[in-house]
Symmetry: C3
Subunit: 279 residues, 3 copies
Amino acid sequence: MSSAIPRNPQLAIHNRQSVITLLTDFGTQDYFVGAMKGVILSANPSAAIVDITHDIPPQDIHAAAFNLLATYRDFPAGSVHVAVVDPGVGSSRRPILVECAEQMFVGPDNGLFSWICEREKRFTARQLTNESFFRHPKSKTFHGRDVFAPVAAALARGVSAEEVGPLIDNLVKLESLTPKRRDDGTLEGCVIHIDRFGNCITNFTTEHLTTASTRSSSLVINDRELTSFREFFAEKPDAAESLFMICGSAGFIEVAAQNESAAAILKIKRGQQVLLRTG
Amino acid sequence: MSSAIPRNPQLAIHNRQSVITLLTDFGTQDYFVGAMKGVILSANPSAAIVDITHDIPPQDIHAAAFNLLATYRDFPAGSVHVAVVDPGVGSSRRPILVECAEQMFVGPDNGLFSWICEREKRFTARQLTNESFFRHPKSKTFHGRDVFAPVAAALARGVSAEEVGPLIDNLVKLESLTPKRRDDGTLEGCVIHIDRFGNCITNFTTEHLTTASTRSSSLVINDRELTSFREFFAEKPDAAESLFMICGSAGFIEVAAQNESAAAILKIKRGQQVLLRTG
Amino acid sequence: MSSAIPRNPQLAIHNRQSVITLLTDFGTQDYFVGAMKGVILSANPSAAIVDITHDIPPQDIHAAAFNLLATYRDFPAGSVHVAVVDPGVGSSRRPILVECAEQMFVGPDNGLFSWICEREKRFTARQLTNESFFRHPKSKTFHGRDVFAPVAAALARGVSAEEVGPLIDNLVKLESLTPKRRDDGTLEGCVIHIDRFGNCITNFTTEHLTTASTRSSSLVINDRELTSFREFFAEKPDAAESLFMICGSAGFIEVAAQNESAAAILKIKRGQQVLLRTG
């Protein structure tokens, strides 16, 4: 492997270790993640493997999509991201490669990468059909190890996208990340993720707030109107208001509560509607 | 260290980072695993360290033995696997190196590697006696850091097996992985592991099923006879049968249930007898 | 980045990957730790990143300080340790670099490194003011990703300490690690940490016990006097005493119980007074 000429110019120029990230719902109690890493290092001995998380709630494609969306831009060009939340493993769902933002994304075609594609707009997708890159034997129950990990290892060492399979379209999509504007100017969005602290991440960003209007915006969720906005969590509240908006580290407006779970206080569920009134 | 001439031909030829895996019951809440990695990188700056898992139930040698058995073959030749589930740390139990399948295994002599030795048949074992490879001072409570990690680091950078200590035999063994055949042809096996989903991994493999007999095999456990066999978890059941057999990703026949814990439904415990009737 | 001439002599001489460790209270469920690693690898493609732990109880600066204290000496010279338990993120608390023991420590100025400074005695501290090493945009809620990770990456690739910011003093300190000696010779210490097994780590070390007096020392906590001392956990007790002292792997005397939680039995809390009577 190490004698192969890298065909990925990004890697050739920098002569650096190639980065492969892993994001799964496998947990860390069993050998599953270790097996993926063994397969990767067997095919690509110089890979730098990074765990994003393996504690995605079982089969929760939305949580996986959000976490990858929140962090892929922090990785160097040429990185390969492997995401495996795969309730349909063994069935006819397609194994895919998505290329966008100078990075590569490998996993099942079930929406995991759709928010990244929506944000980036320009992307290409391929179906992983070239079995010569797969682990042999290939099981019907563990494509993370047998399909996605070895294909990612090959791509990270410079195998070209063309070699792994043909271009495809009509990828499975999650609901859109883009809020809708109503006739009265109100923006209609939703809660795209609830983190383990109970902070509710919406699909509104600071781009939906003009600087002028930050202090005059209000957010309505479950018939409750929030007008308080903080810049950081330890900020002294300007009122006896325990619930507030904050611009979270993933770039979205979050509904948060001082040392409490906003989701619990407001009985918020993922996917739920949120309204934003500005100006 | 980096100026030493590697004596492990595998490493010398490929000029790659050496792989060291860790499997323990230390959890990830304390500094224990970090300390092992610090010791390894101090002795072998180019090591690629892979966590298999640190969430083995405390002192559960069988769970550790199963998880290592399930994944060692996915790692490149020359890998060094460190397994530390070590209730006898500080006592007279021997610290050992096992070499087999072109890989190395380092840990206490308490059966952790016995299933790998049984499967591979050809192996050699040594007692770690050369204290020049140990961390100093050596504690009596943390040999993962003070004995196993630094010896693994030395082996991974090319120190020869002869240098770490003398050949030994009579390793501690767990019960055999091989099912017994009764006079009537029935195979008598056992449950070697129950994973966190409640899937019960038996010591039967597809080699015990001829292709012809897959559909005519039955498995008996706790007076319940299972005849349903699925190729993957999302497969549509051919009957209203919630319990089924499946060939799991570790290569063994598992007893599973659709989105439920087969162990809970059948009240299965590890070590329990299972019968397989074929043809 | 990779074409920069390393200015850290330690790194230049050994030509090895630079070690960066991470210790946080972020948990492993979200993208937070992955984002820090992406930022590090973007700025320093050859970094070897080691997780010490991400399961520090939220905002528990003492637990973070203890775990780092217990393991930093196991890492090679030139390592950069990033610790982020940061209740004051976004406020006026200073982001700092501490250099001591041939290693570097990066994090908020809230006492995280004070026990290391106290032990090592010689150290220098700087405030991280050079924003050219920060991630852009810099959030007000996630300095682990936006300040500490990228500065650590720069330091690990050879950027000199002078470049990251000016020397400062008056670092925030935790209570001292040093026991006090009373007039009657009794040492007055405290419980600095309770681990997940309920072992209570005190600030006494074997230096406070002369070899001669190990067997004649007694430890008083919550009006209970302990006189039993074990060398390792599996040691046969010399009496029907379930509670005992042991020299733990972090170098401190611990109060432990056979397969039980000493903290629970004795109702011990962190910070609580302990007395040691010797001879």
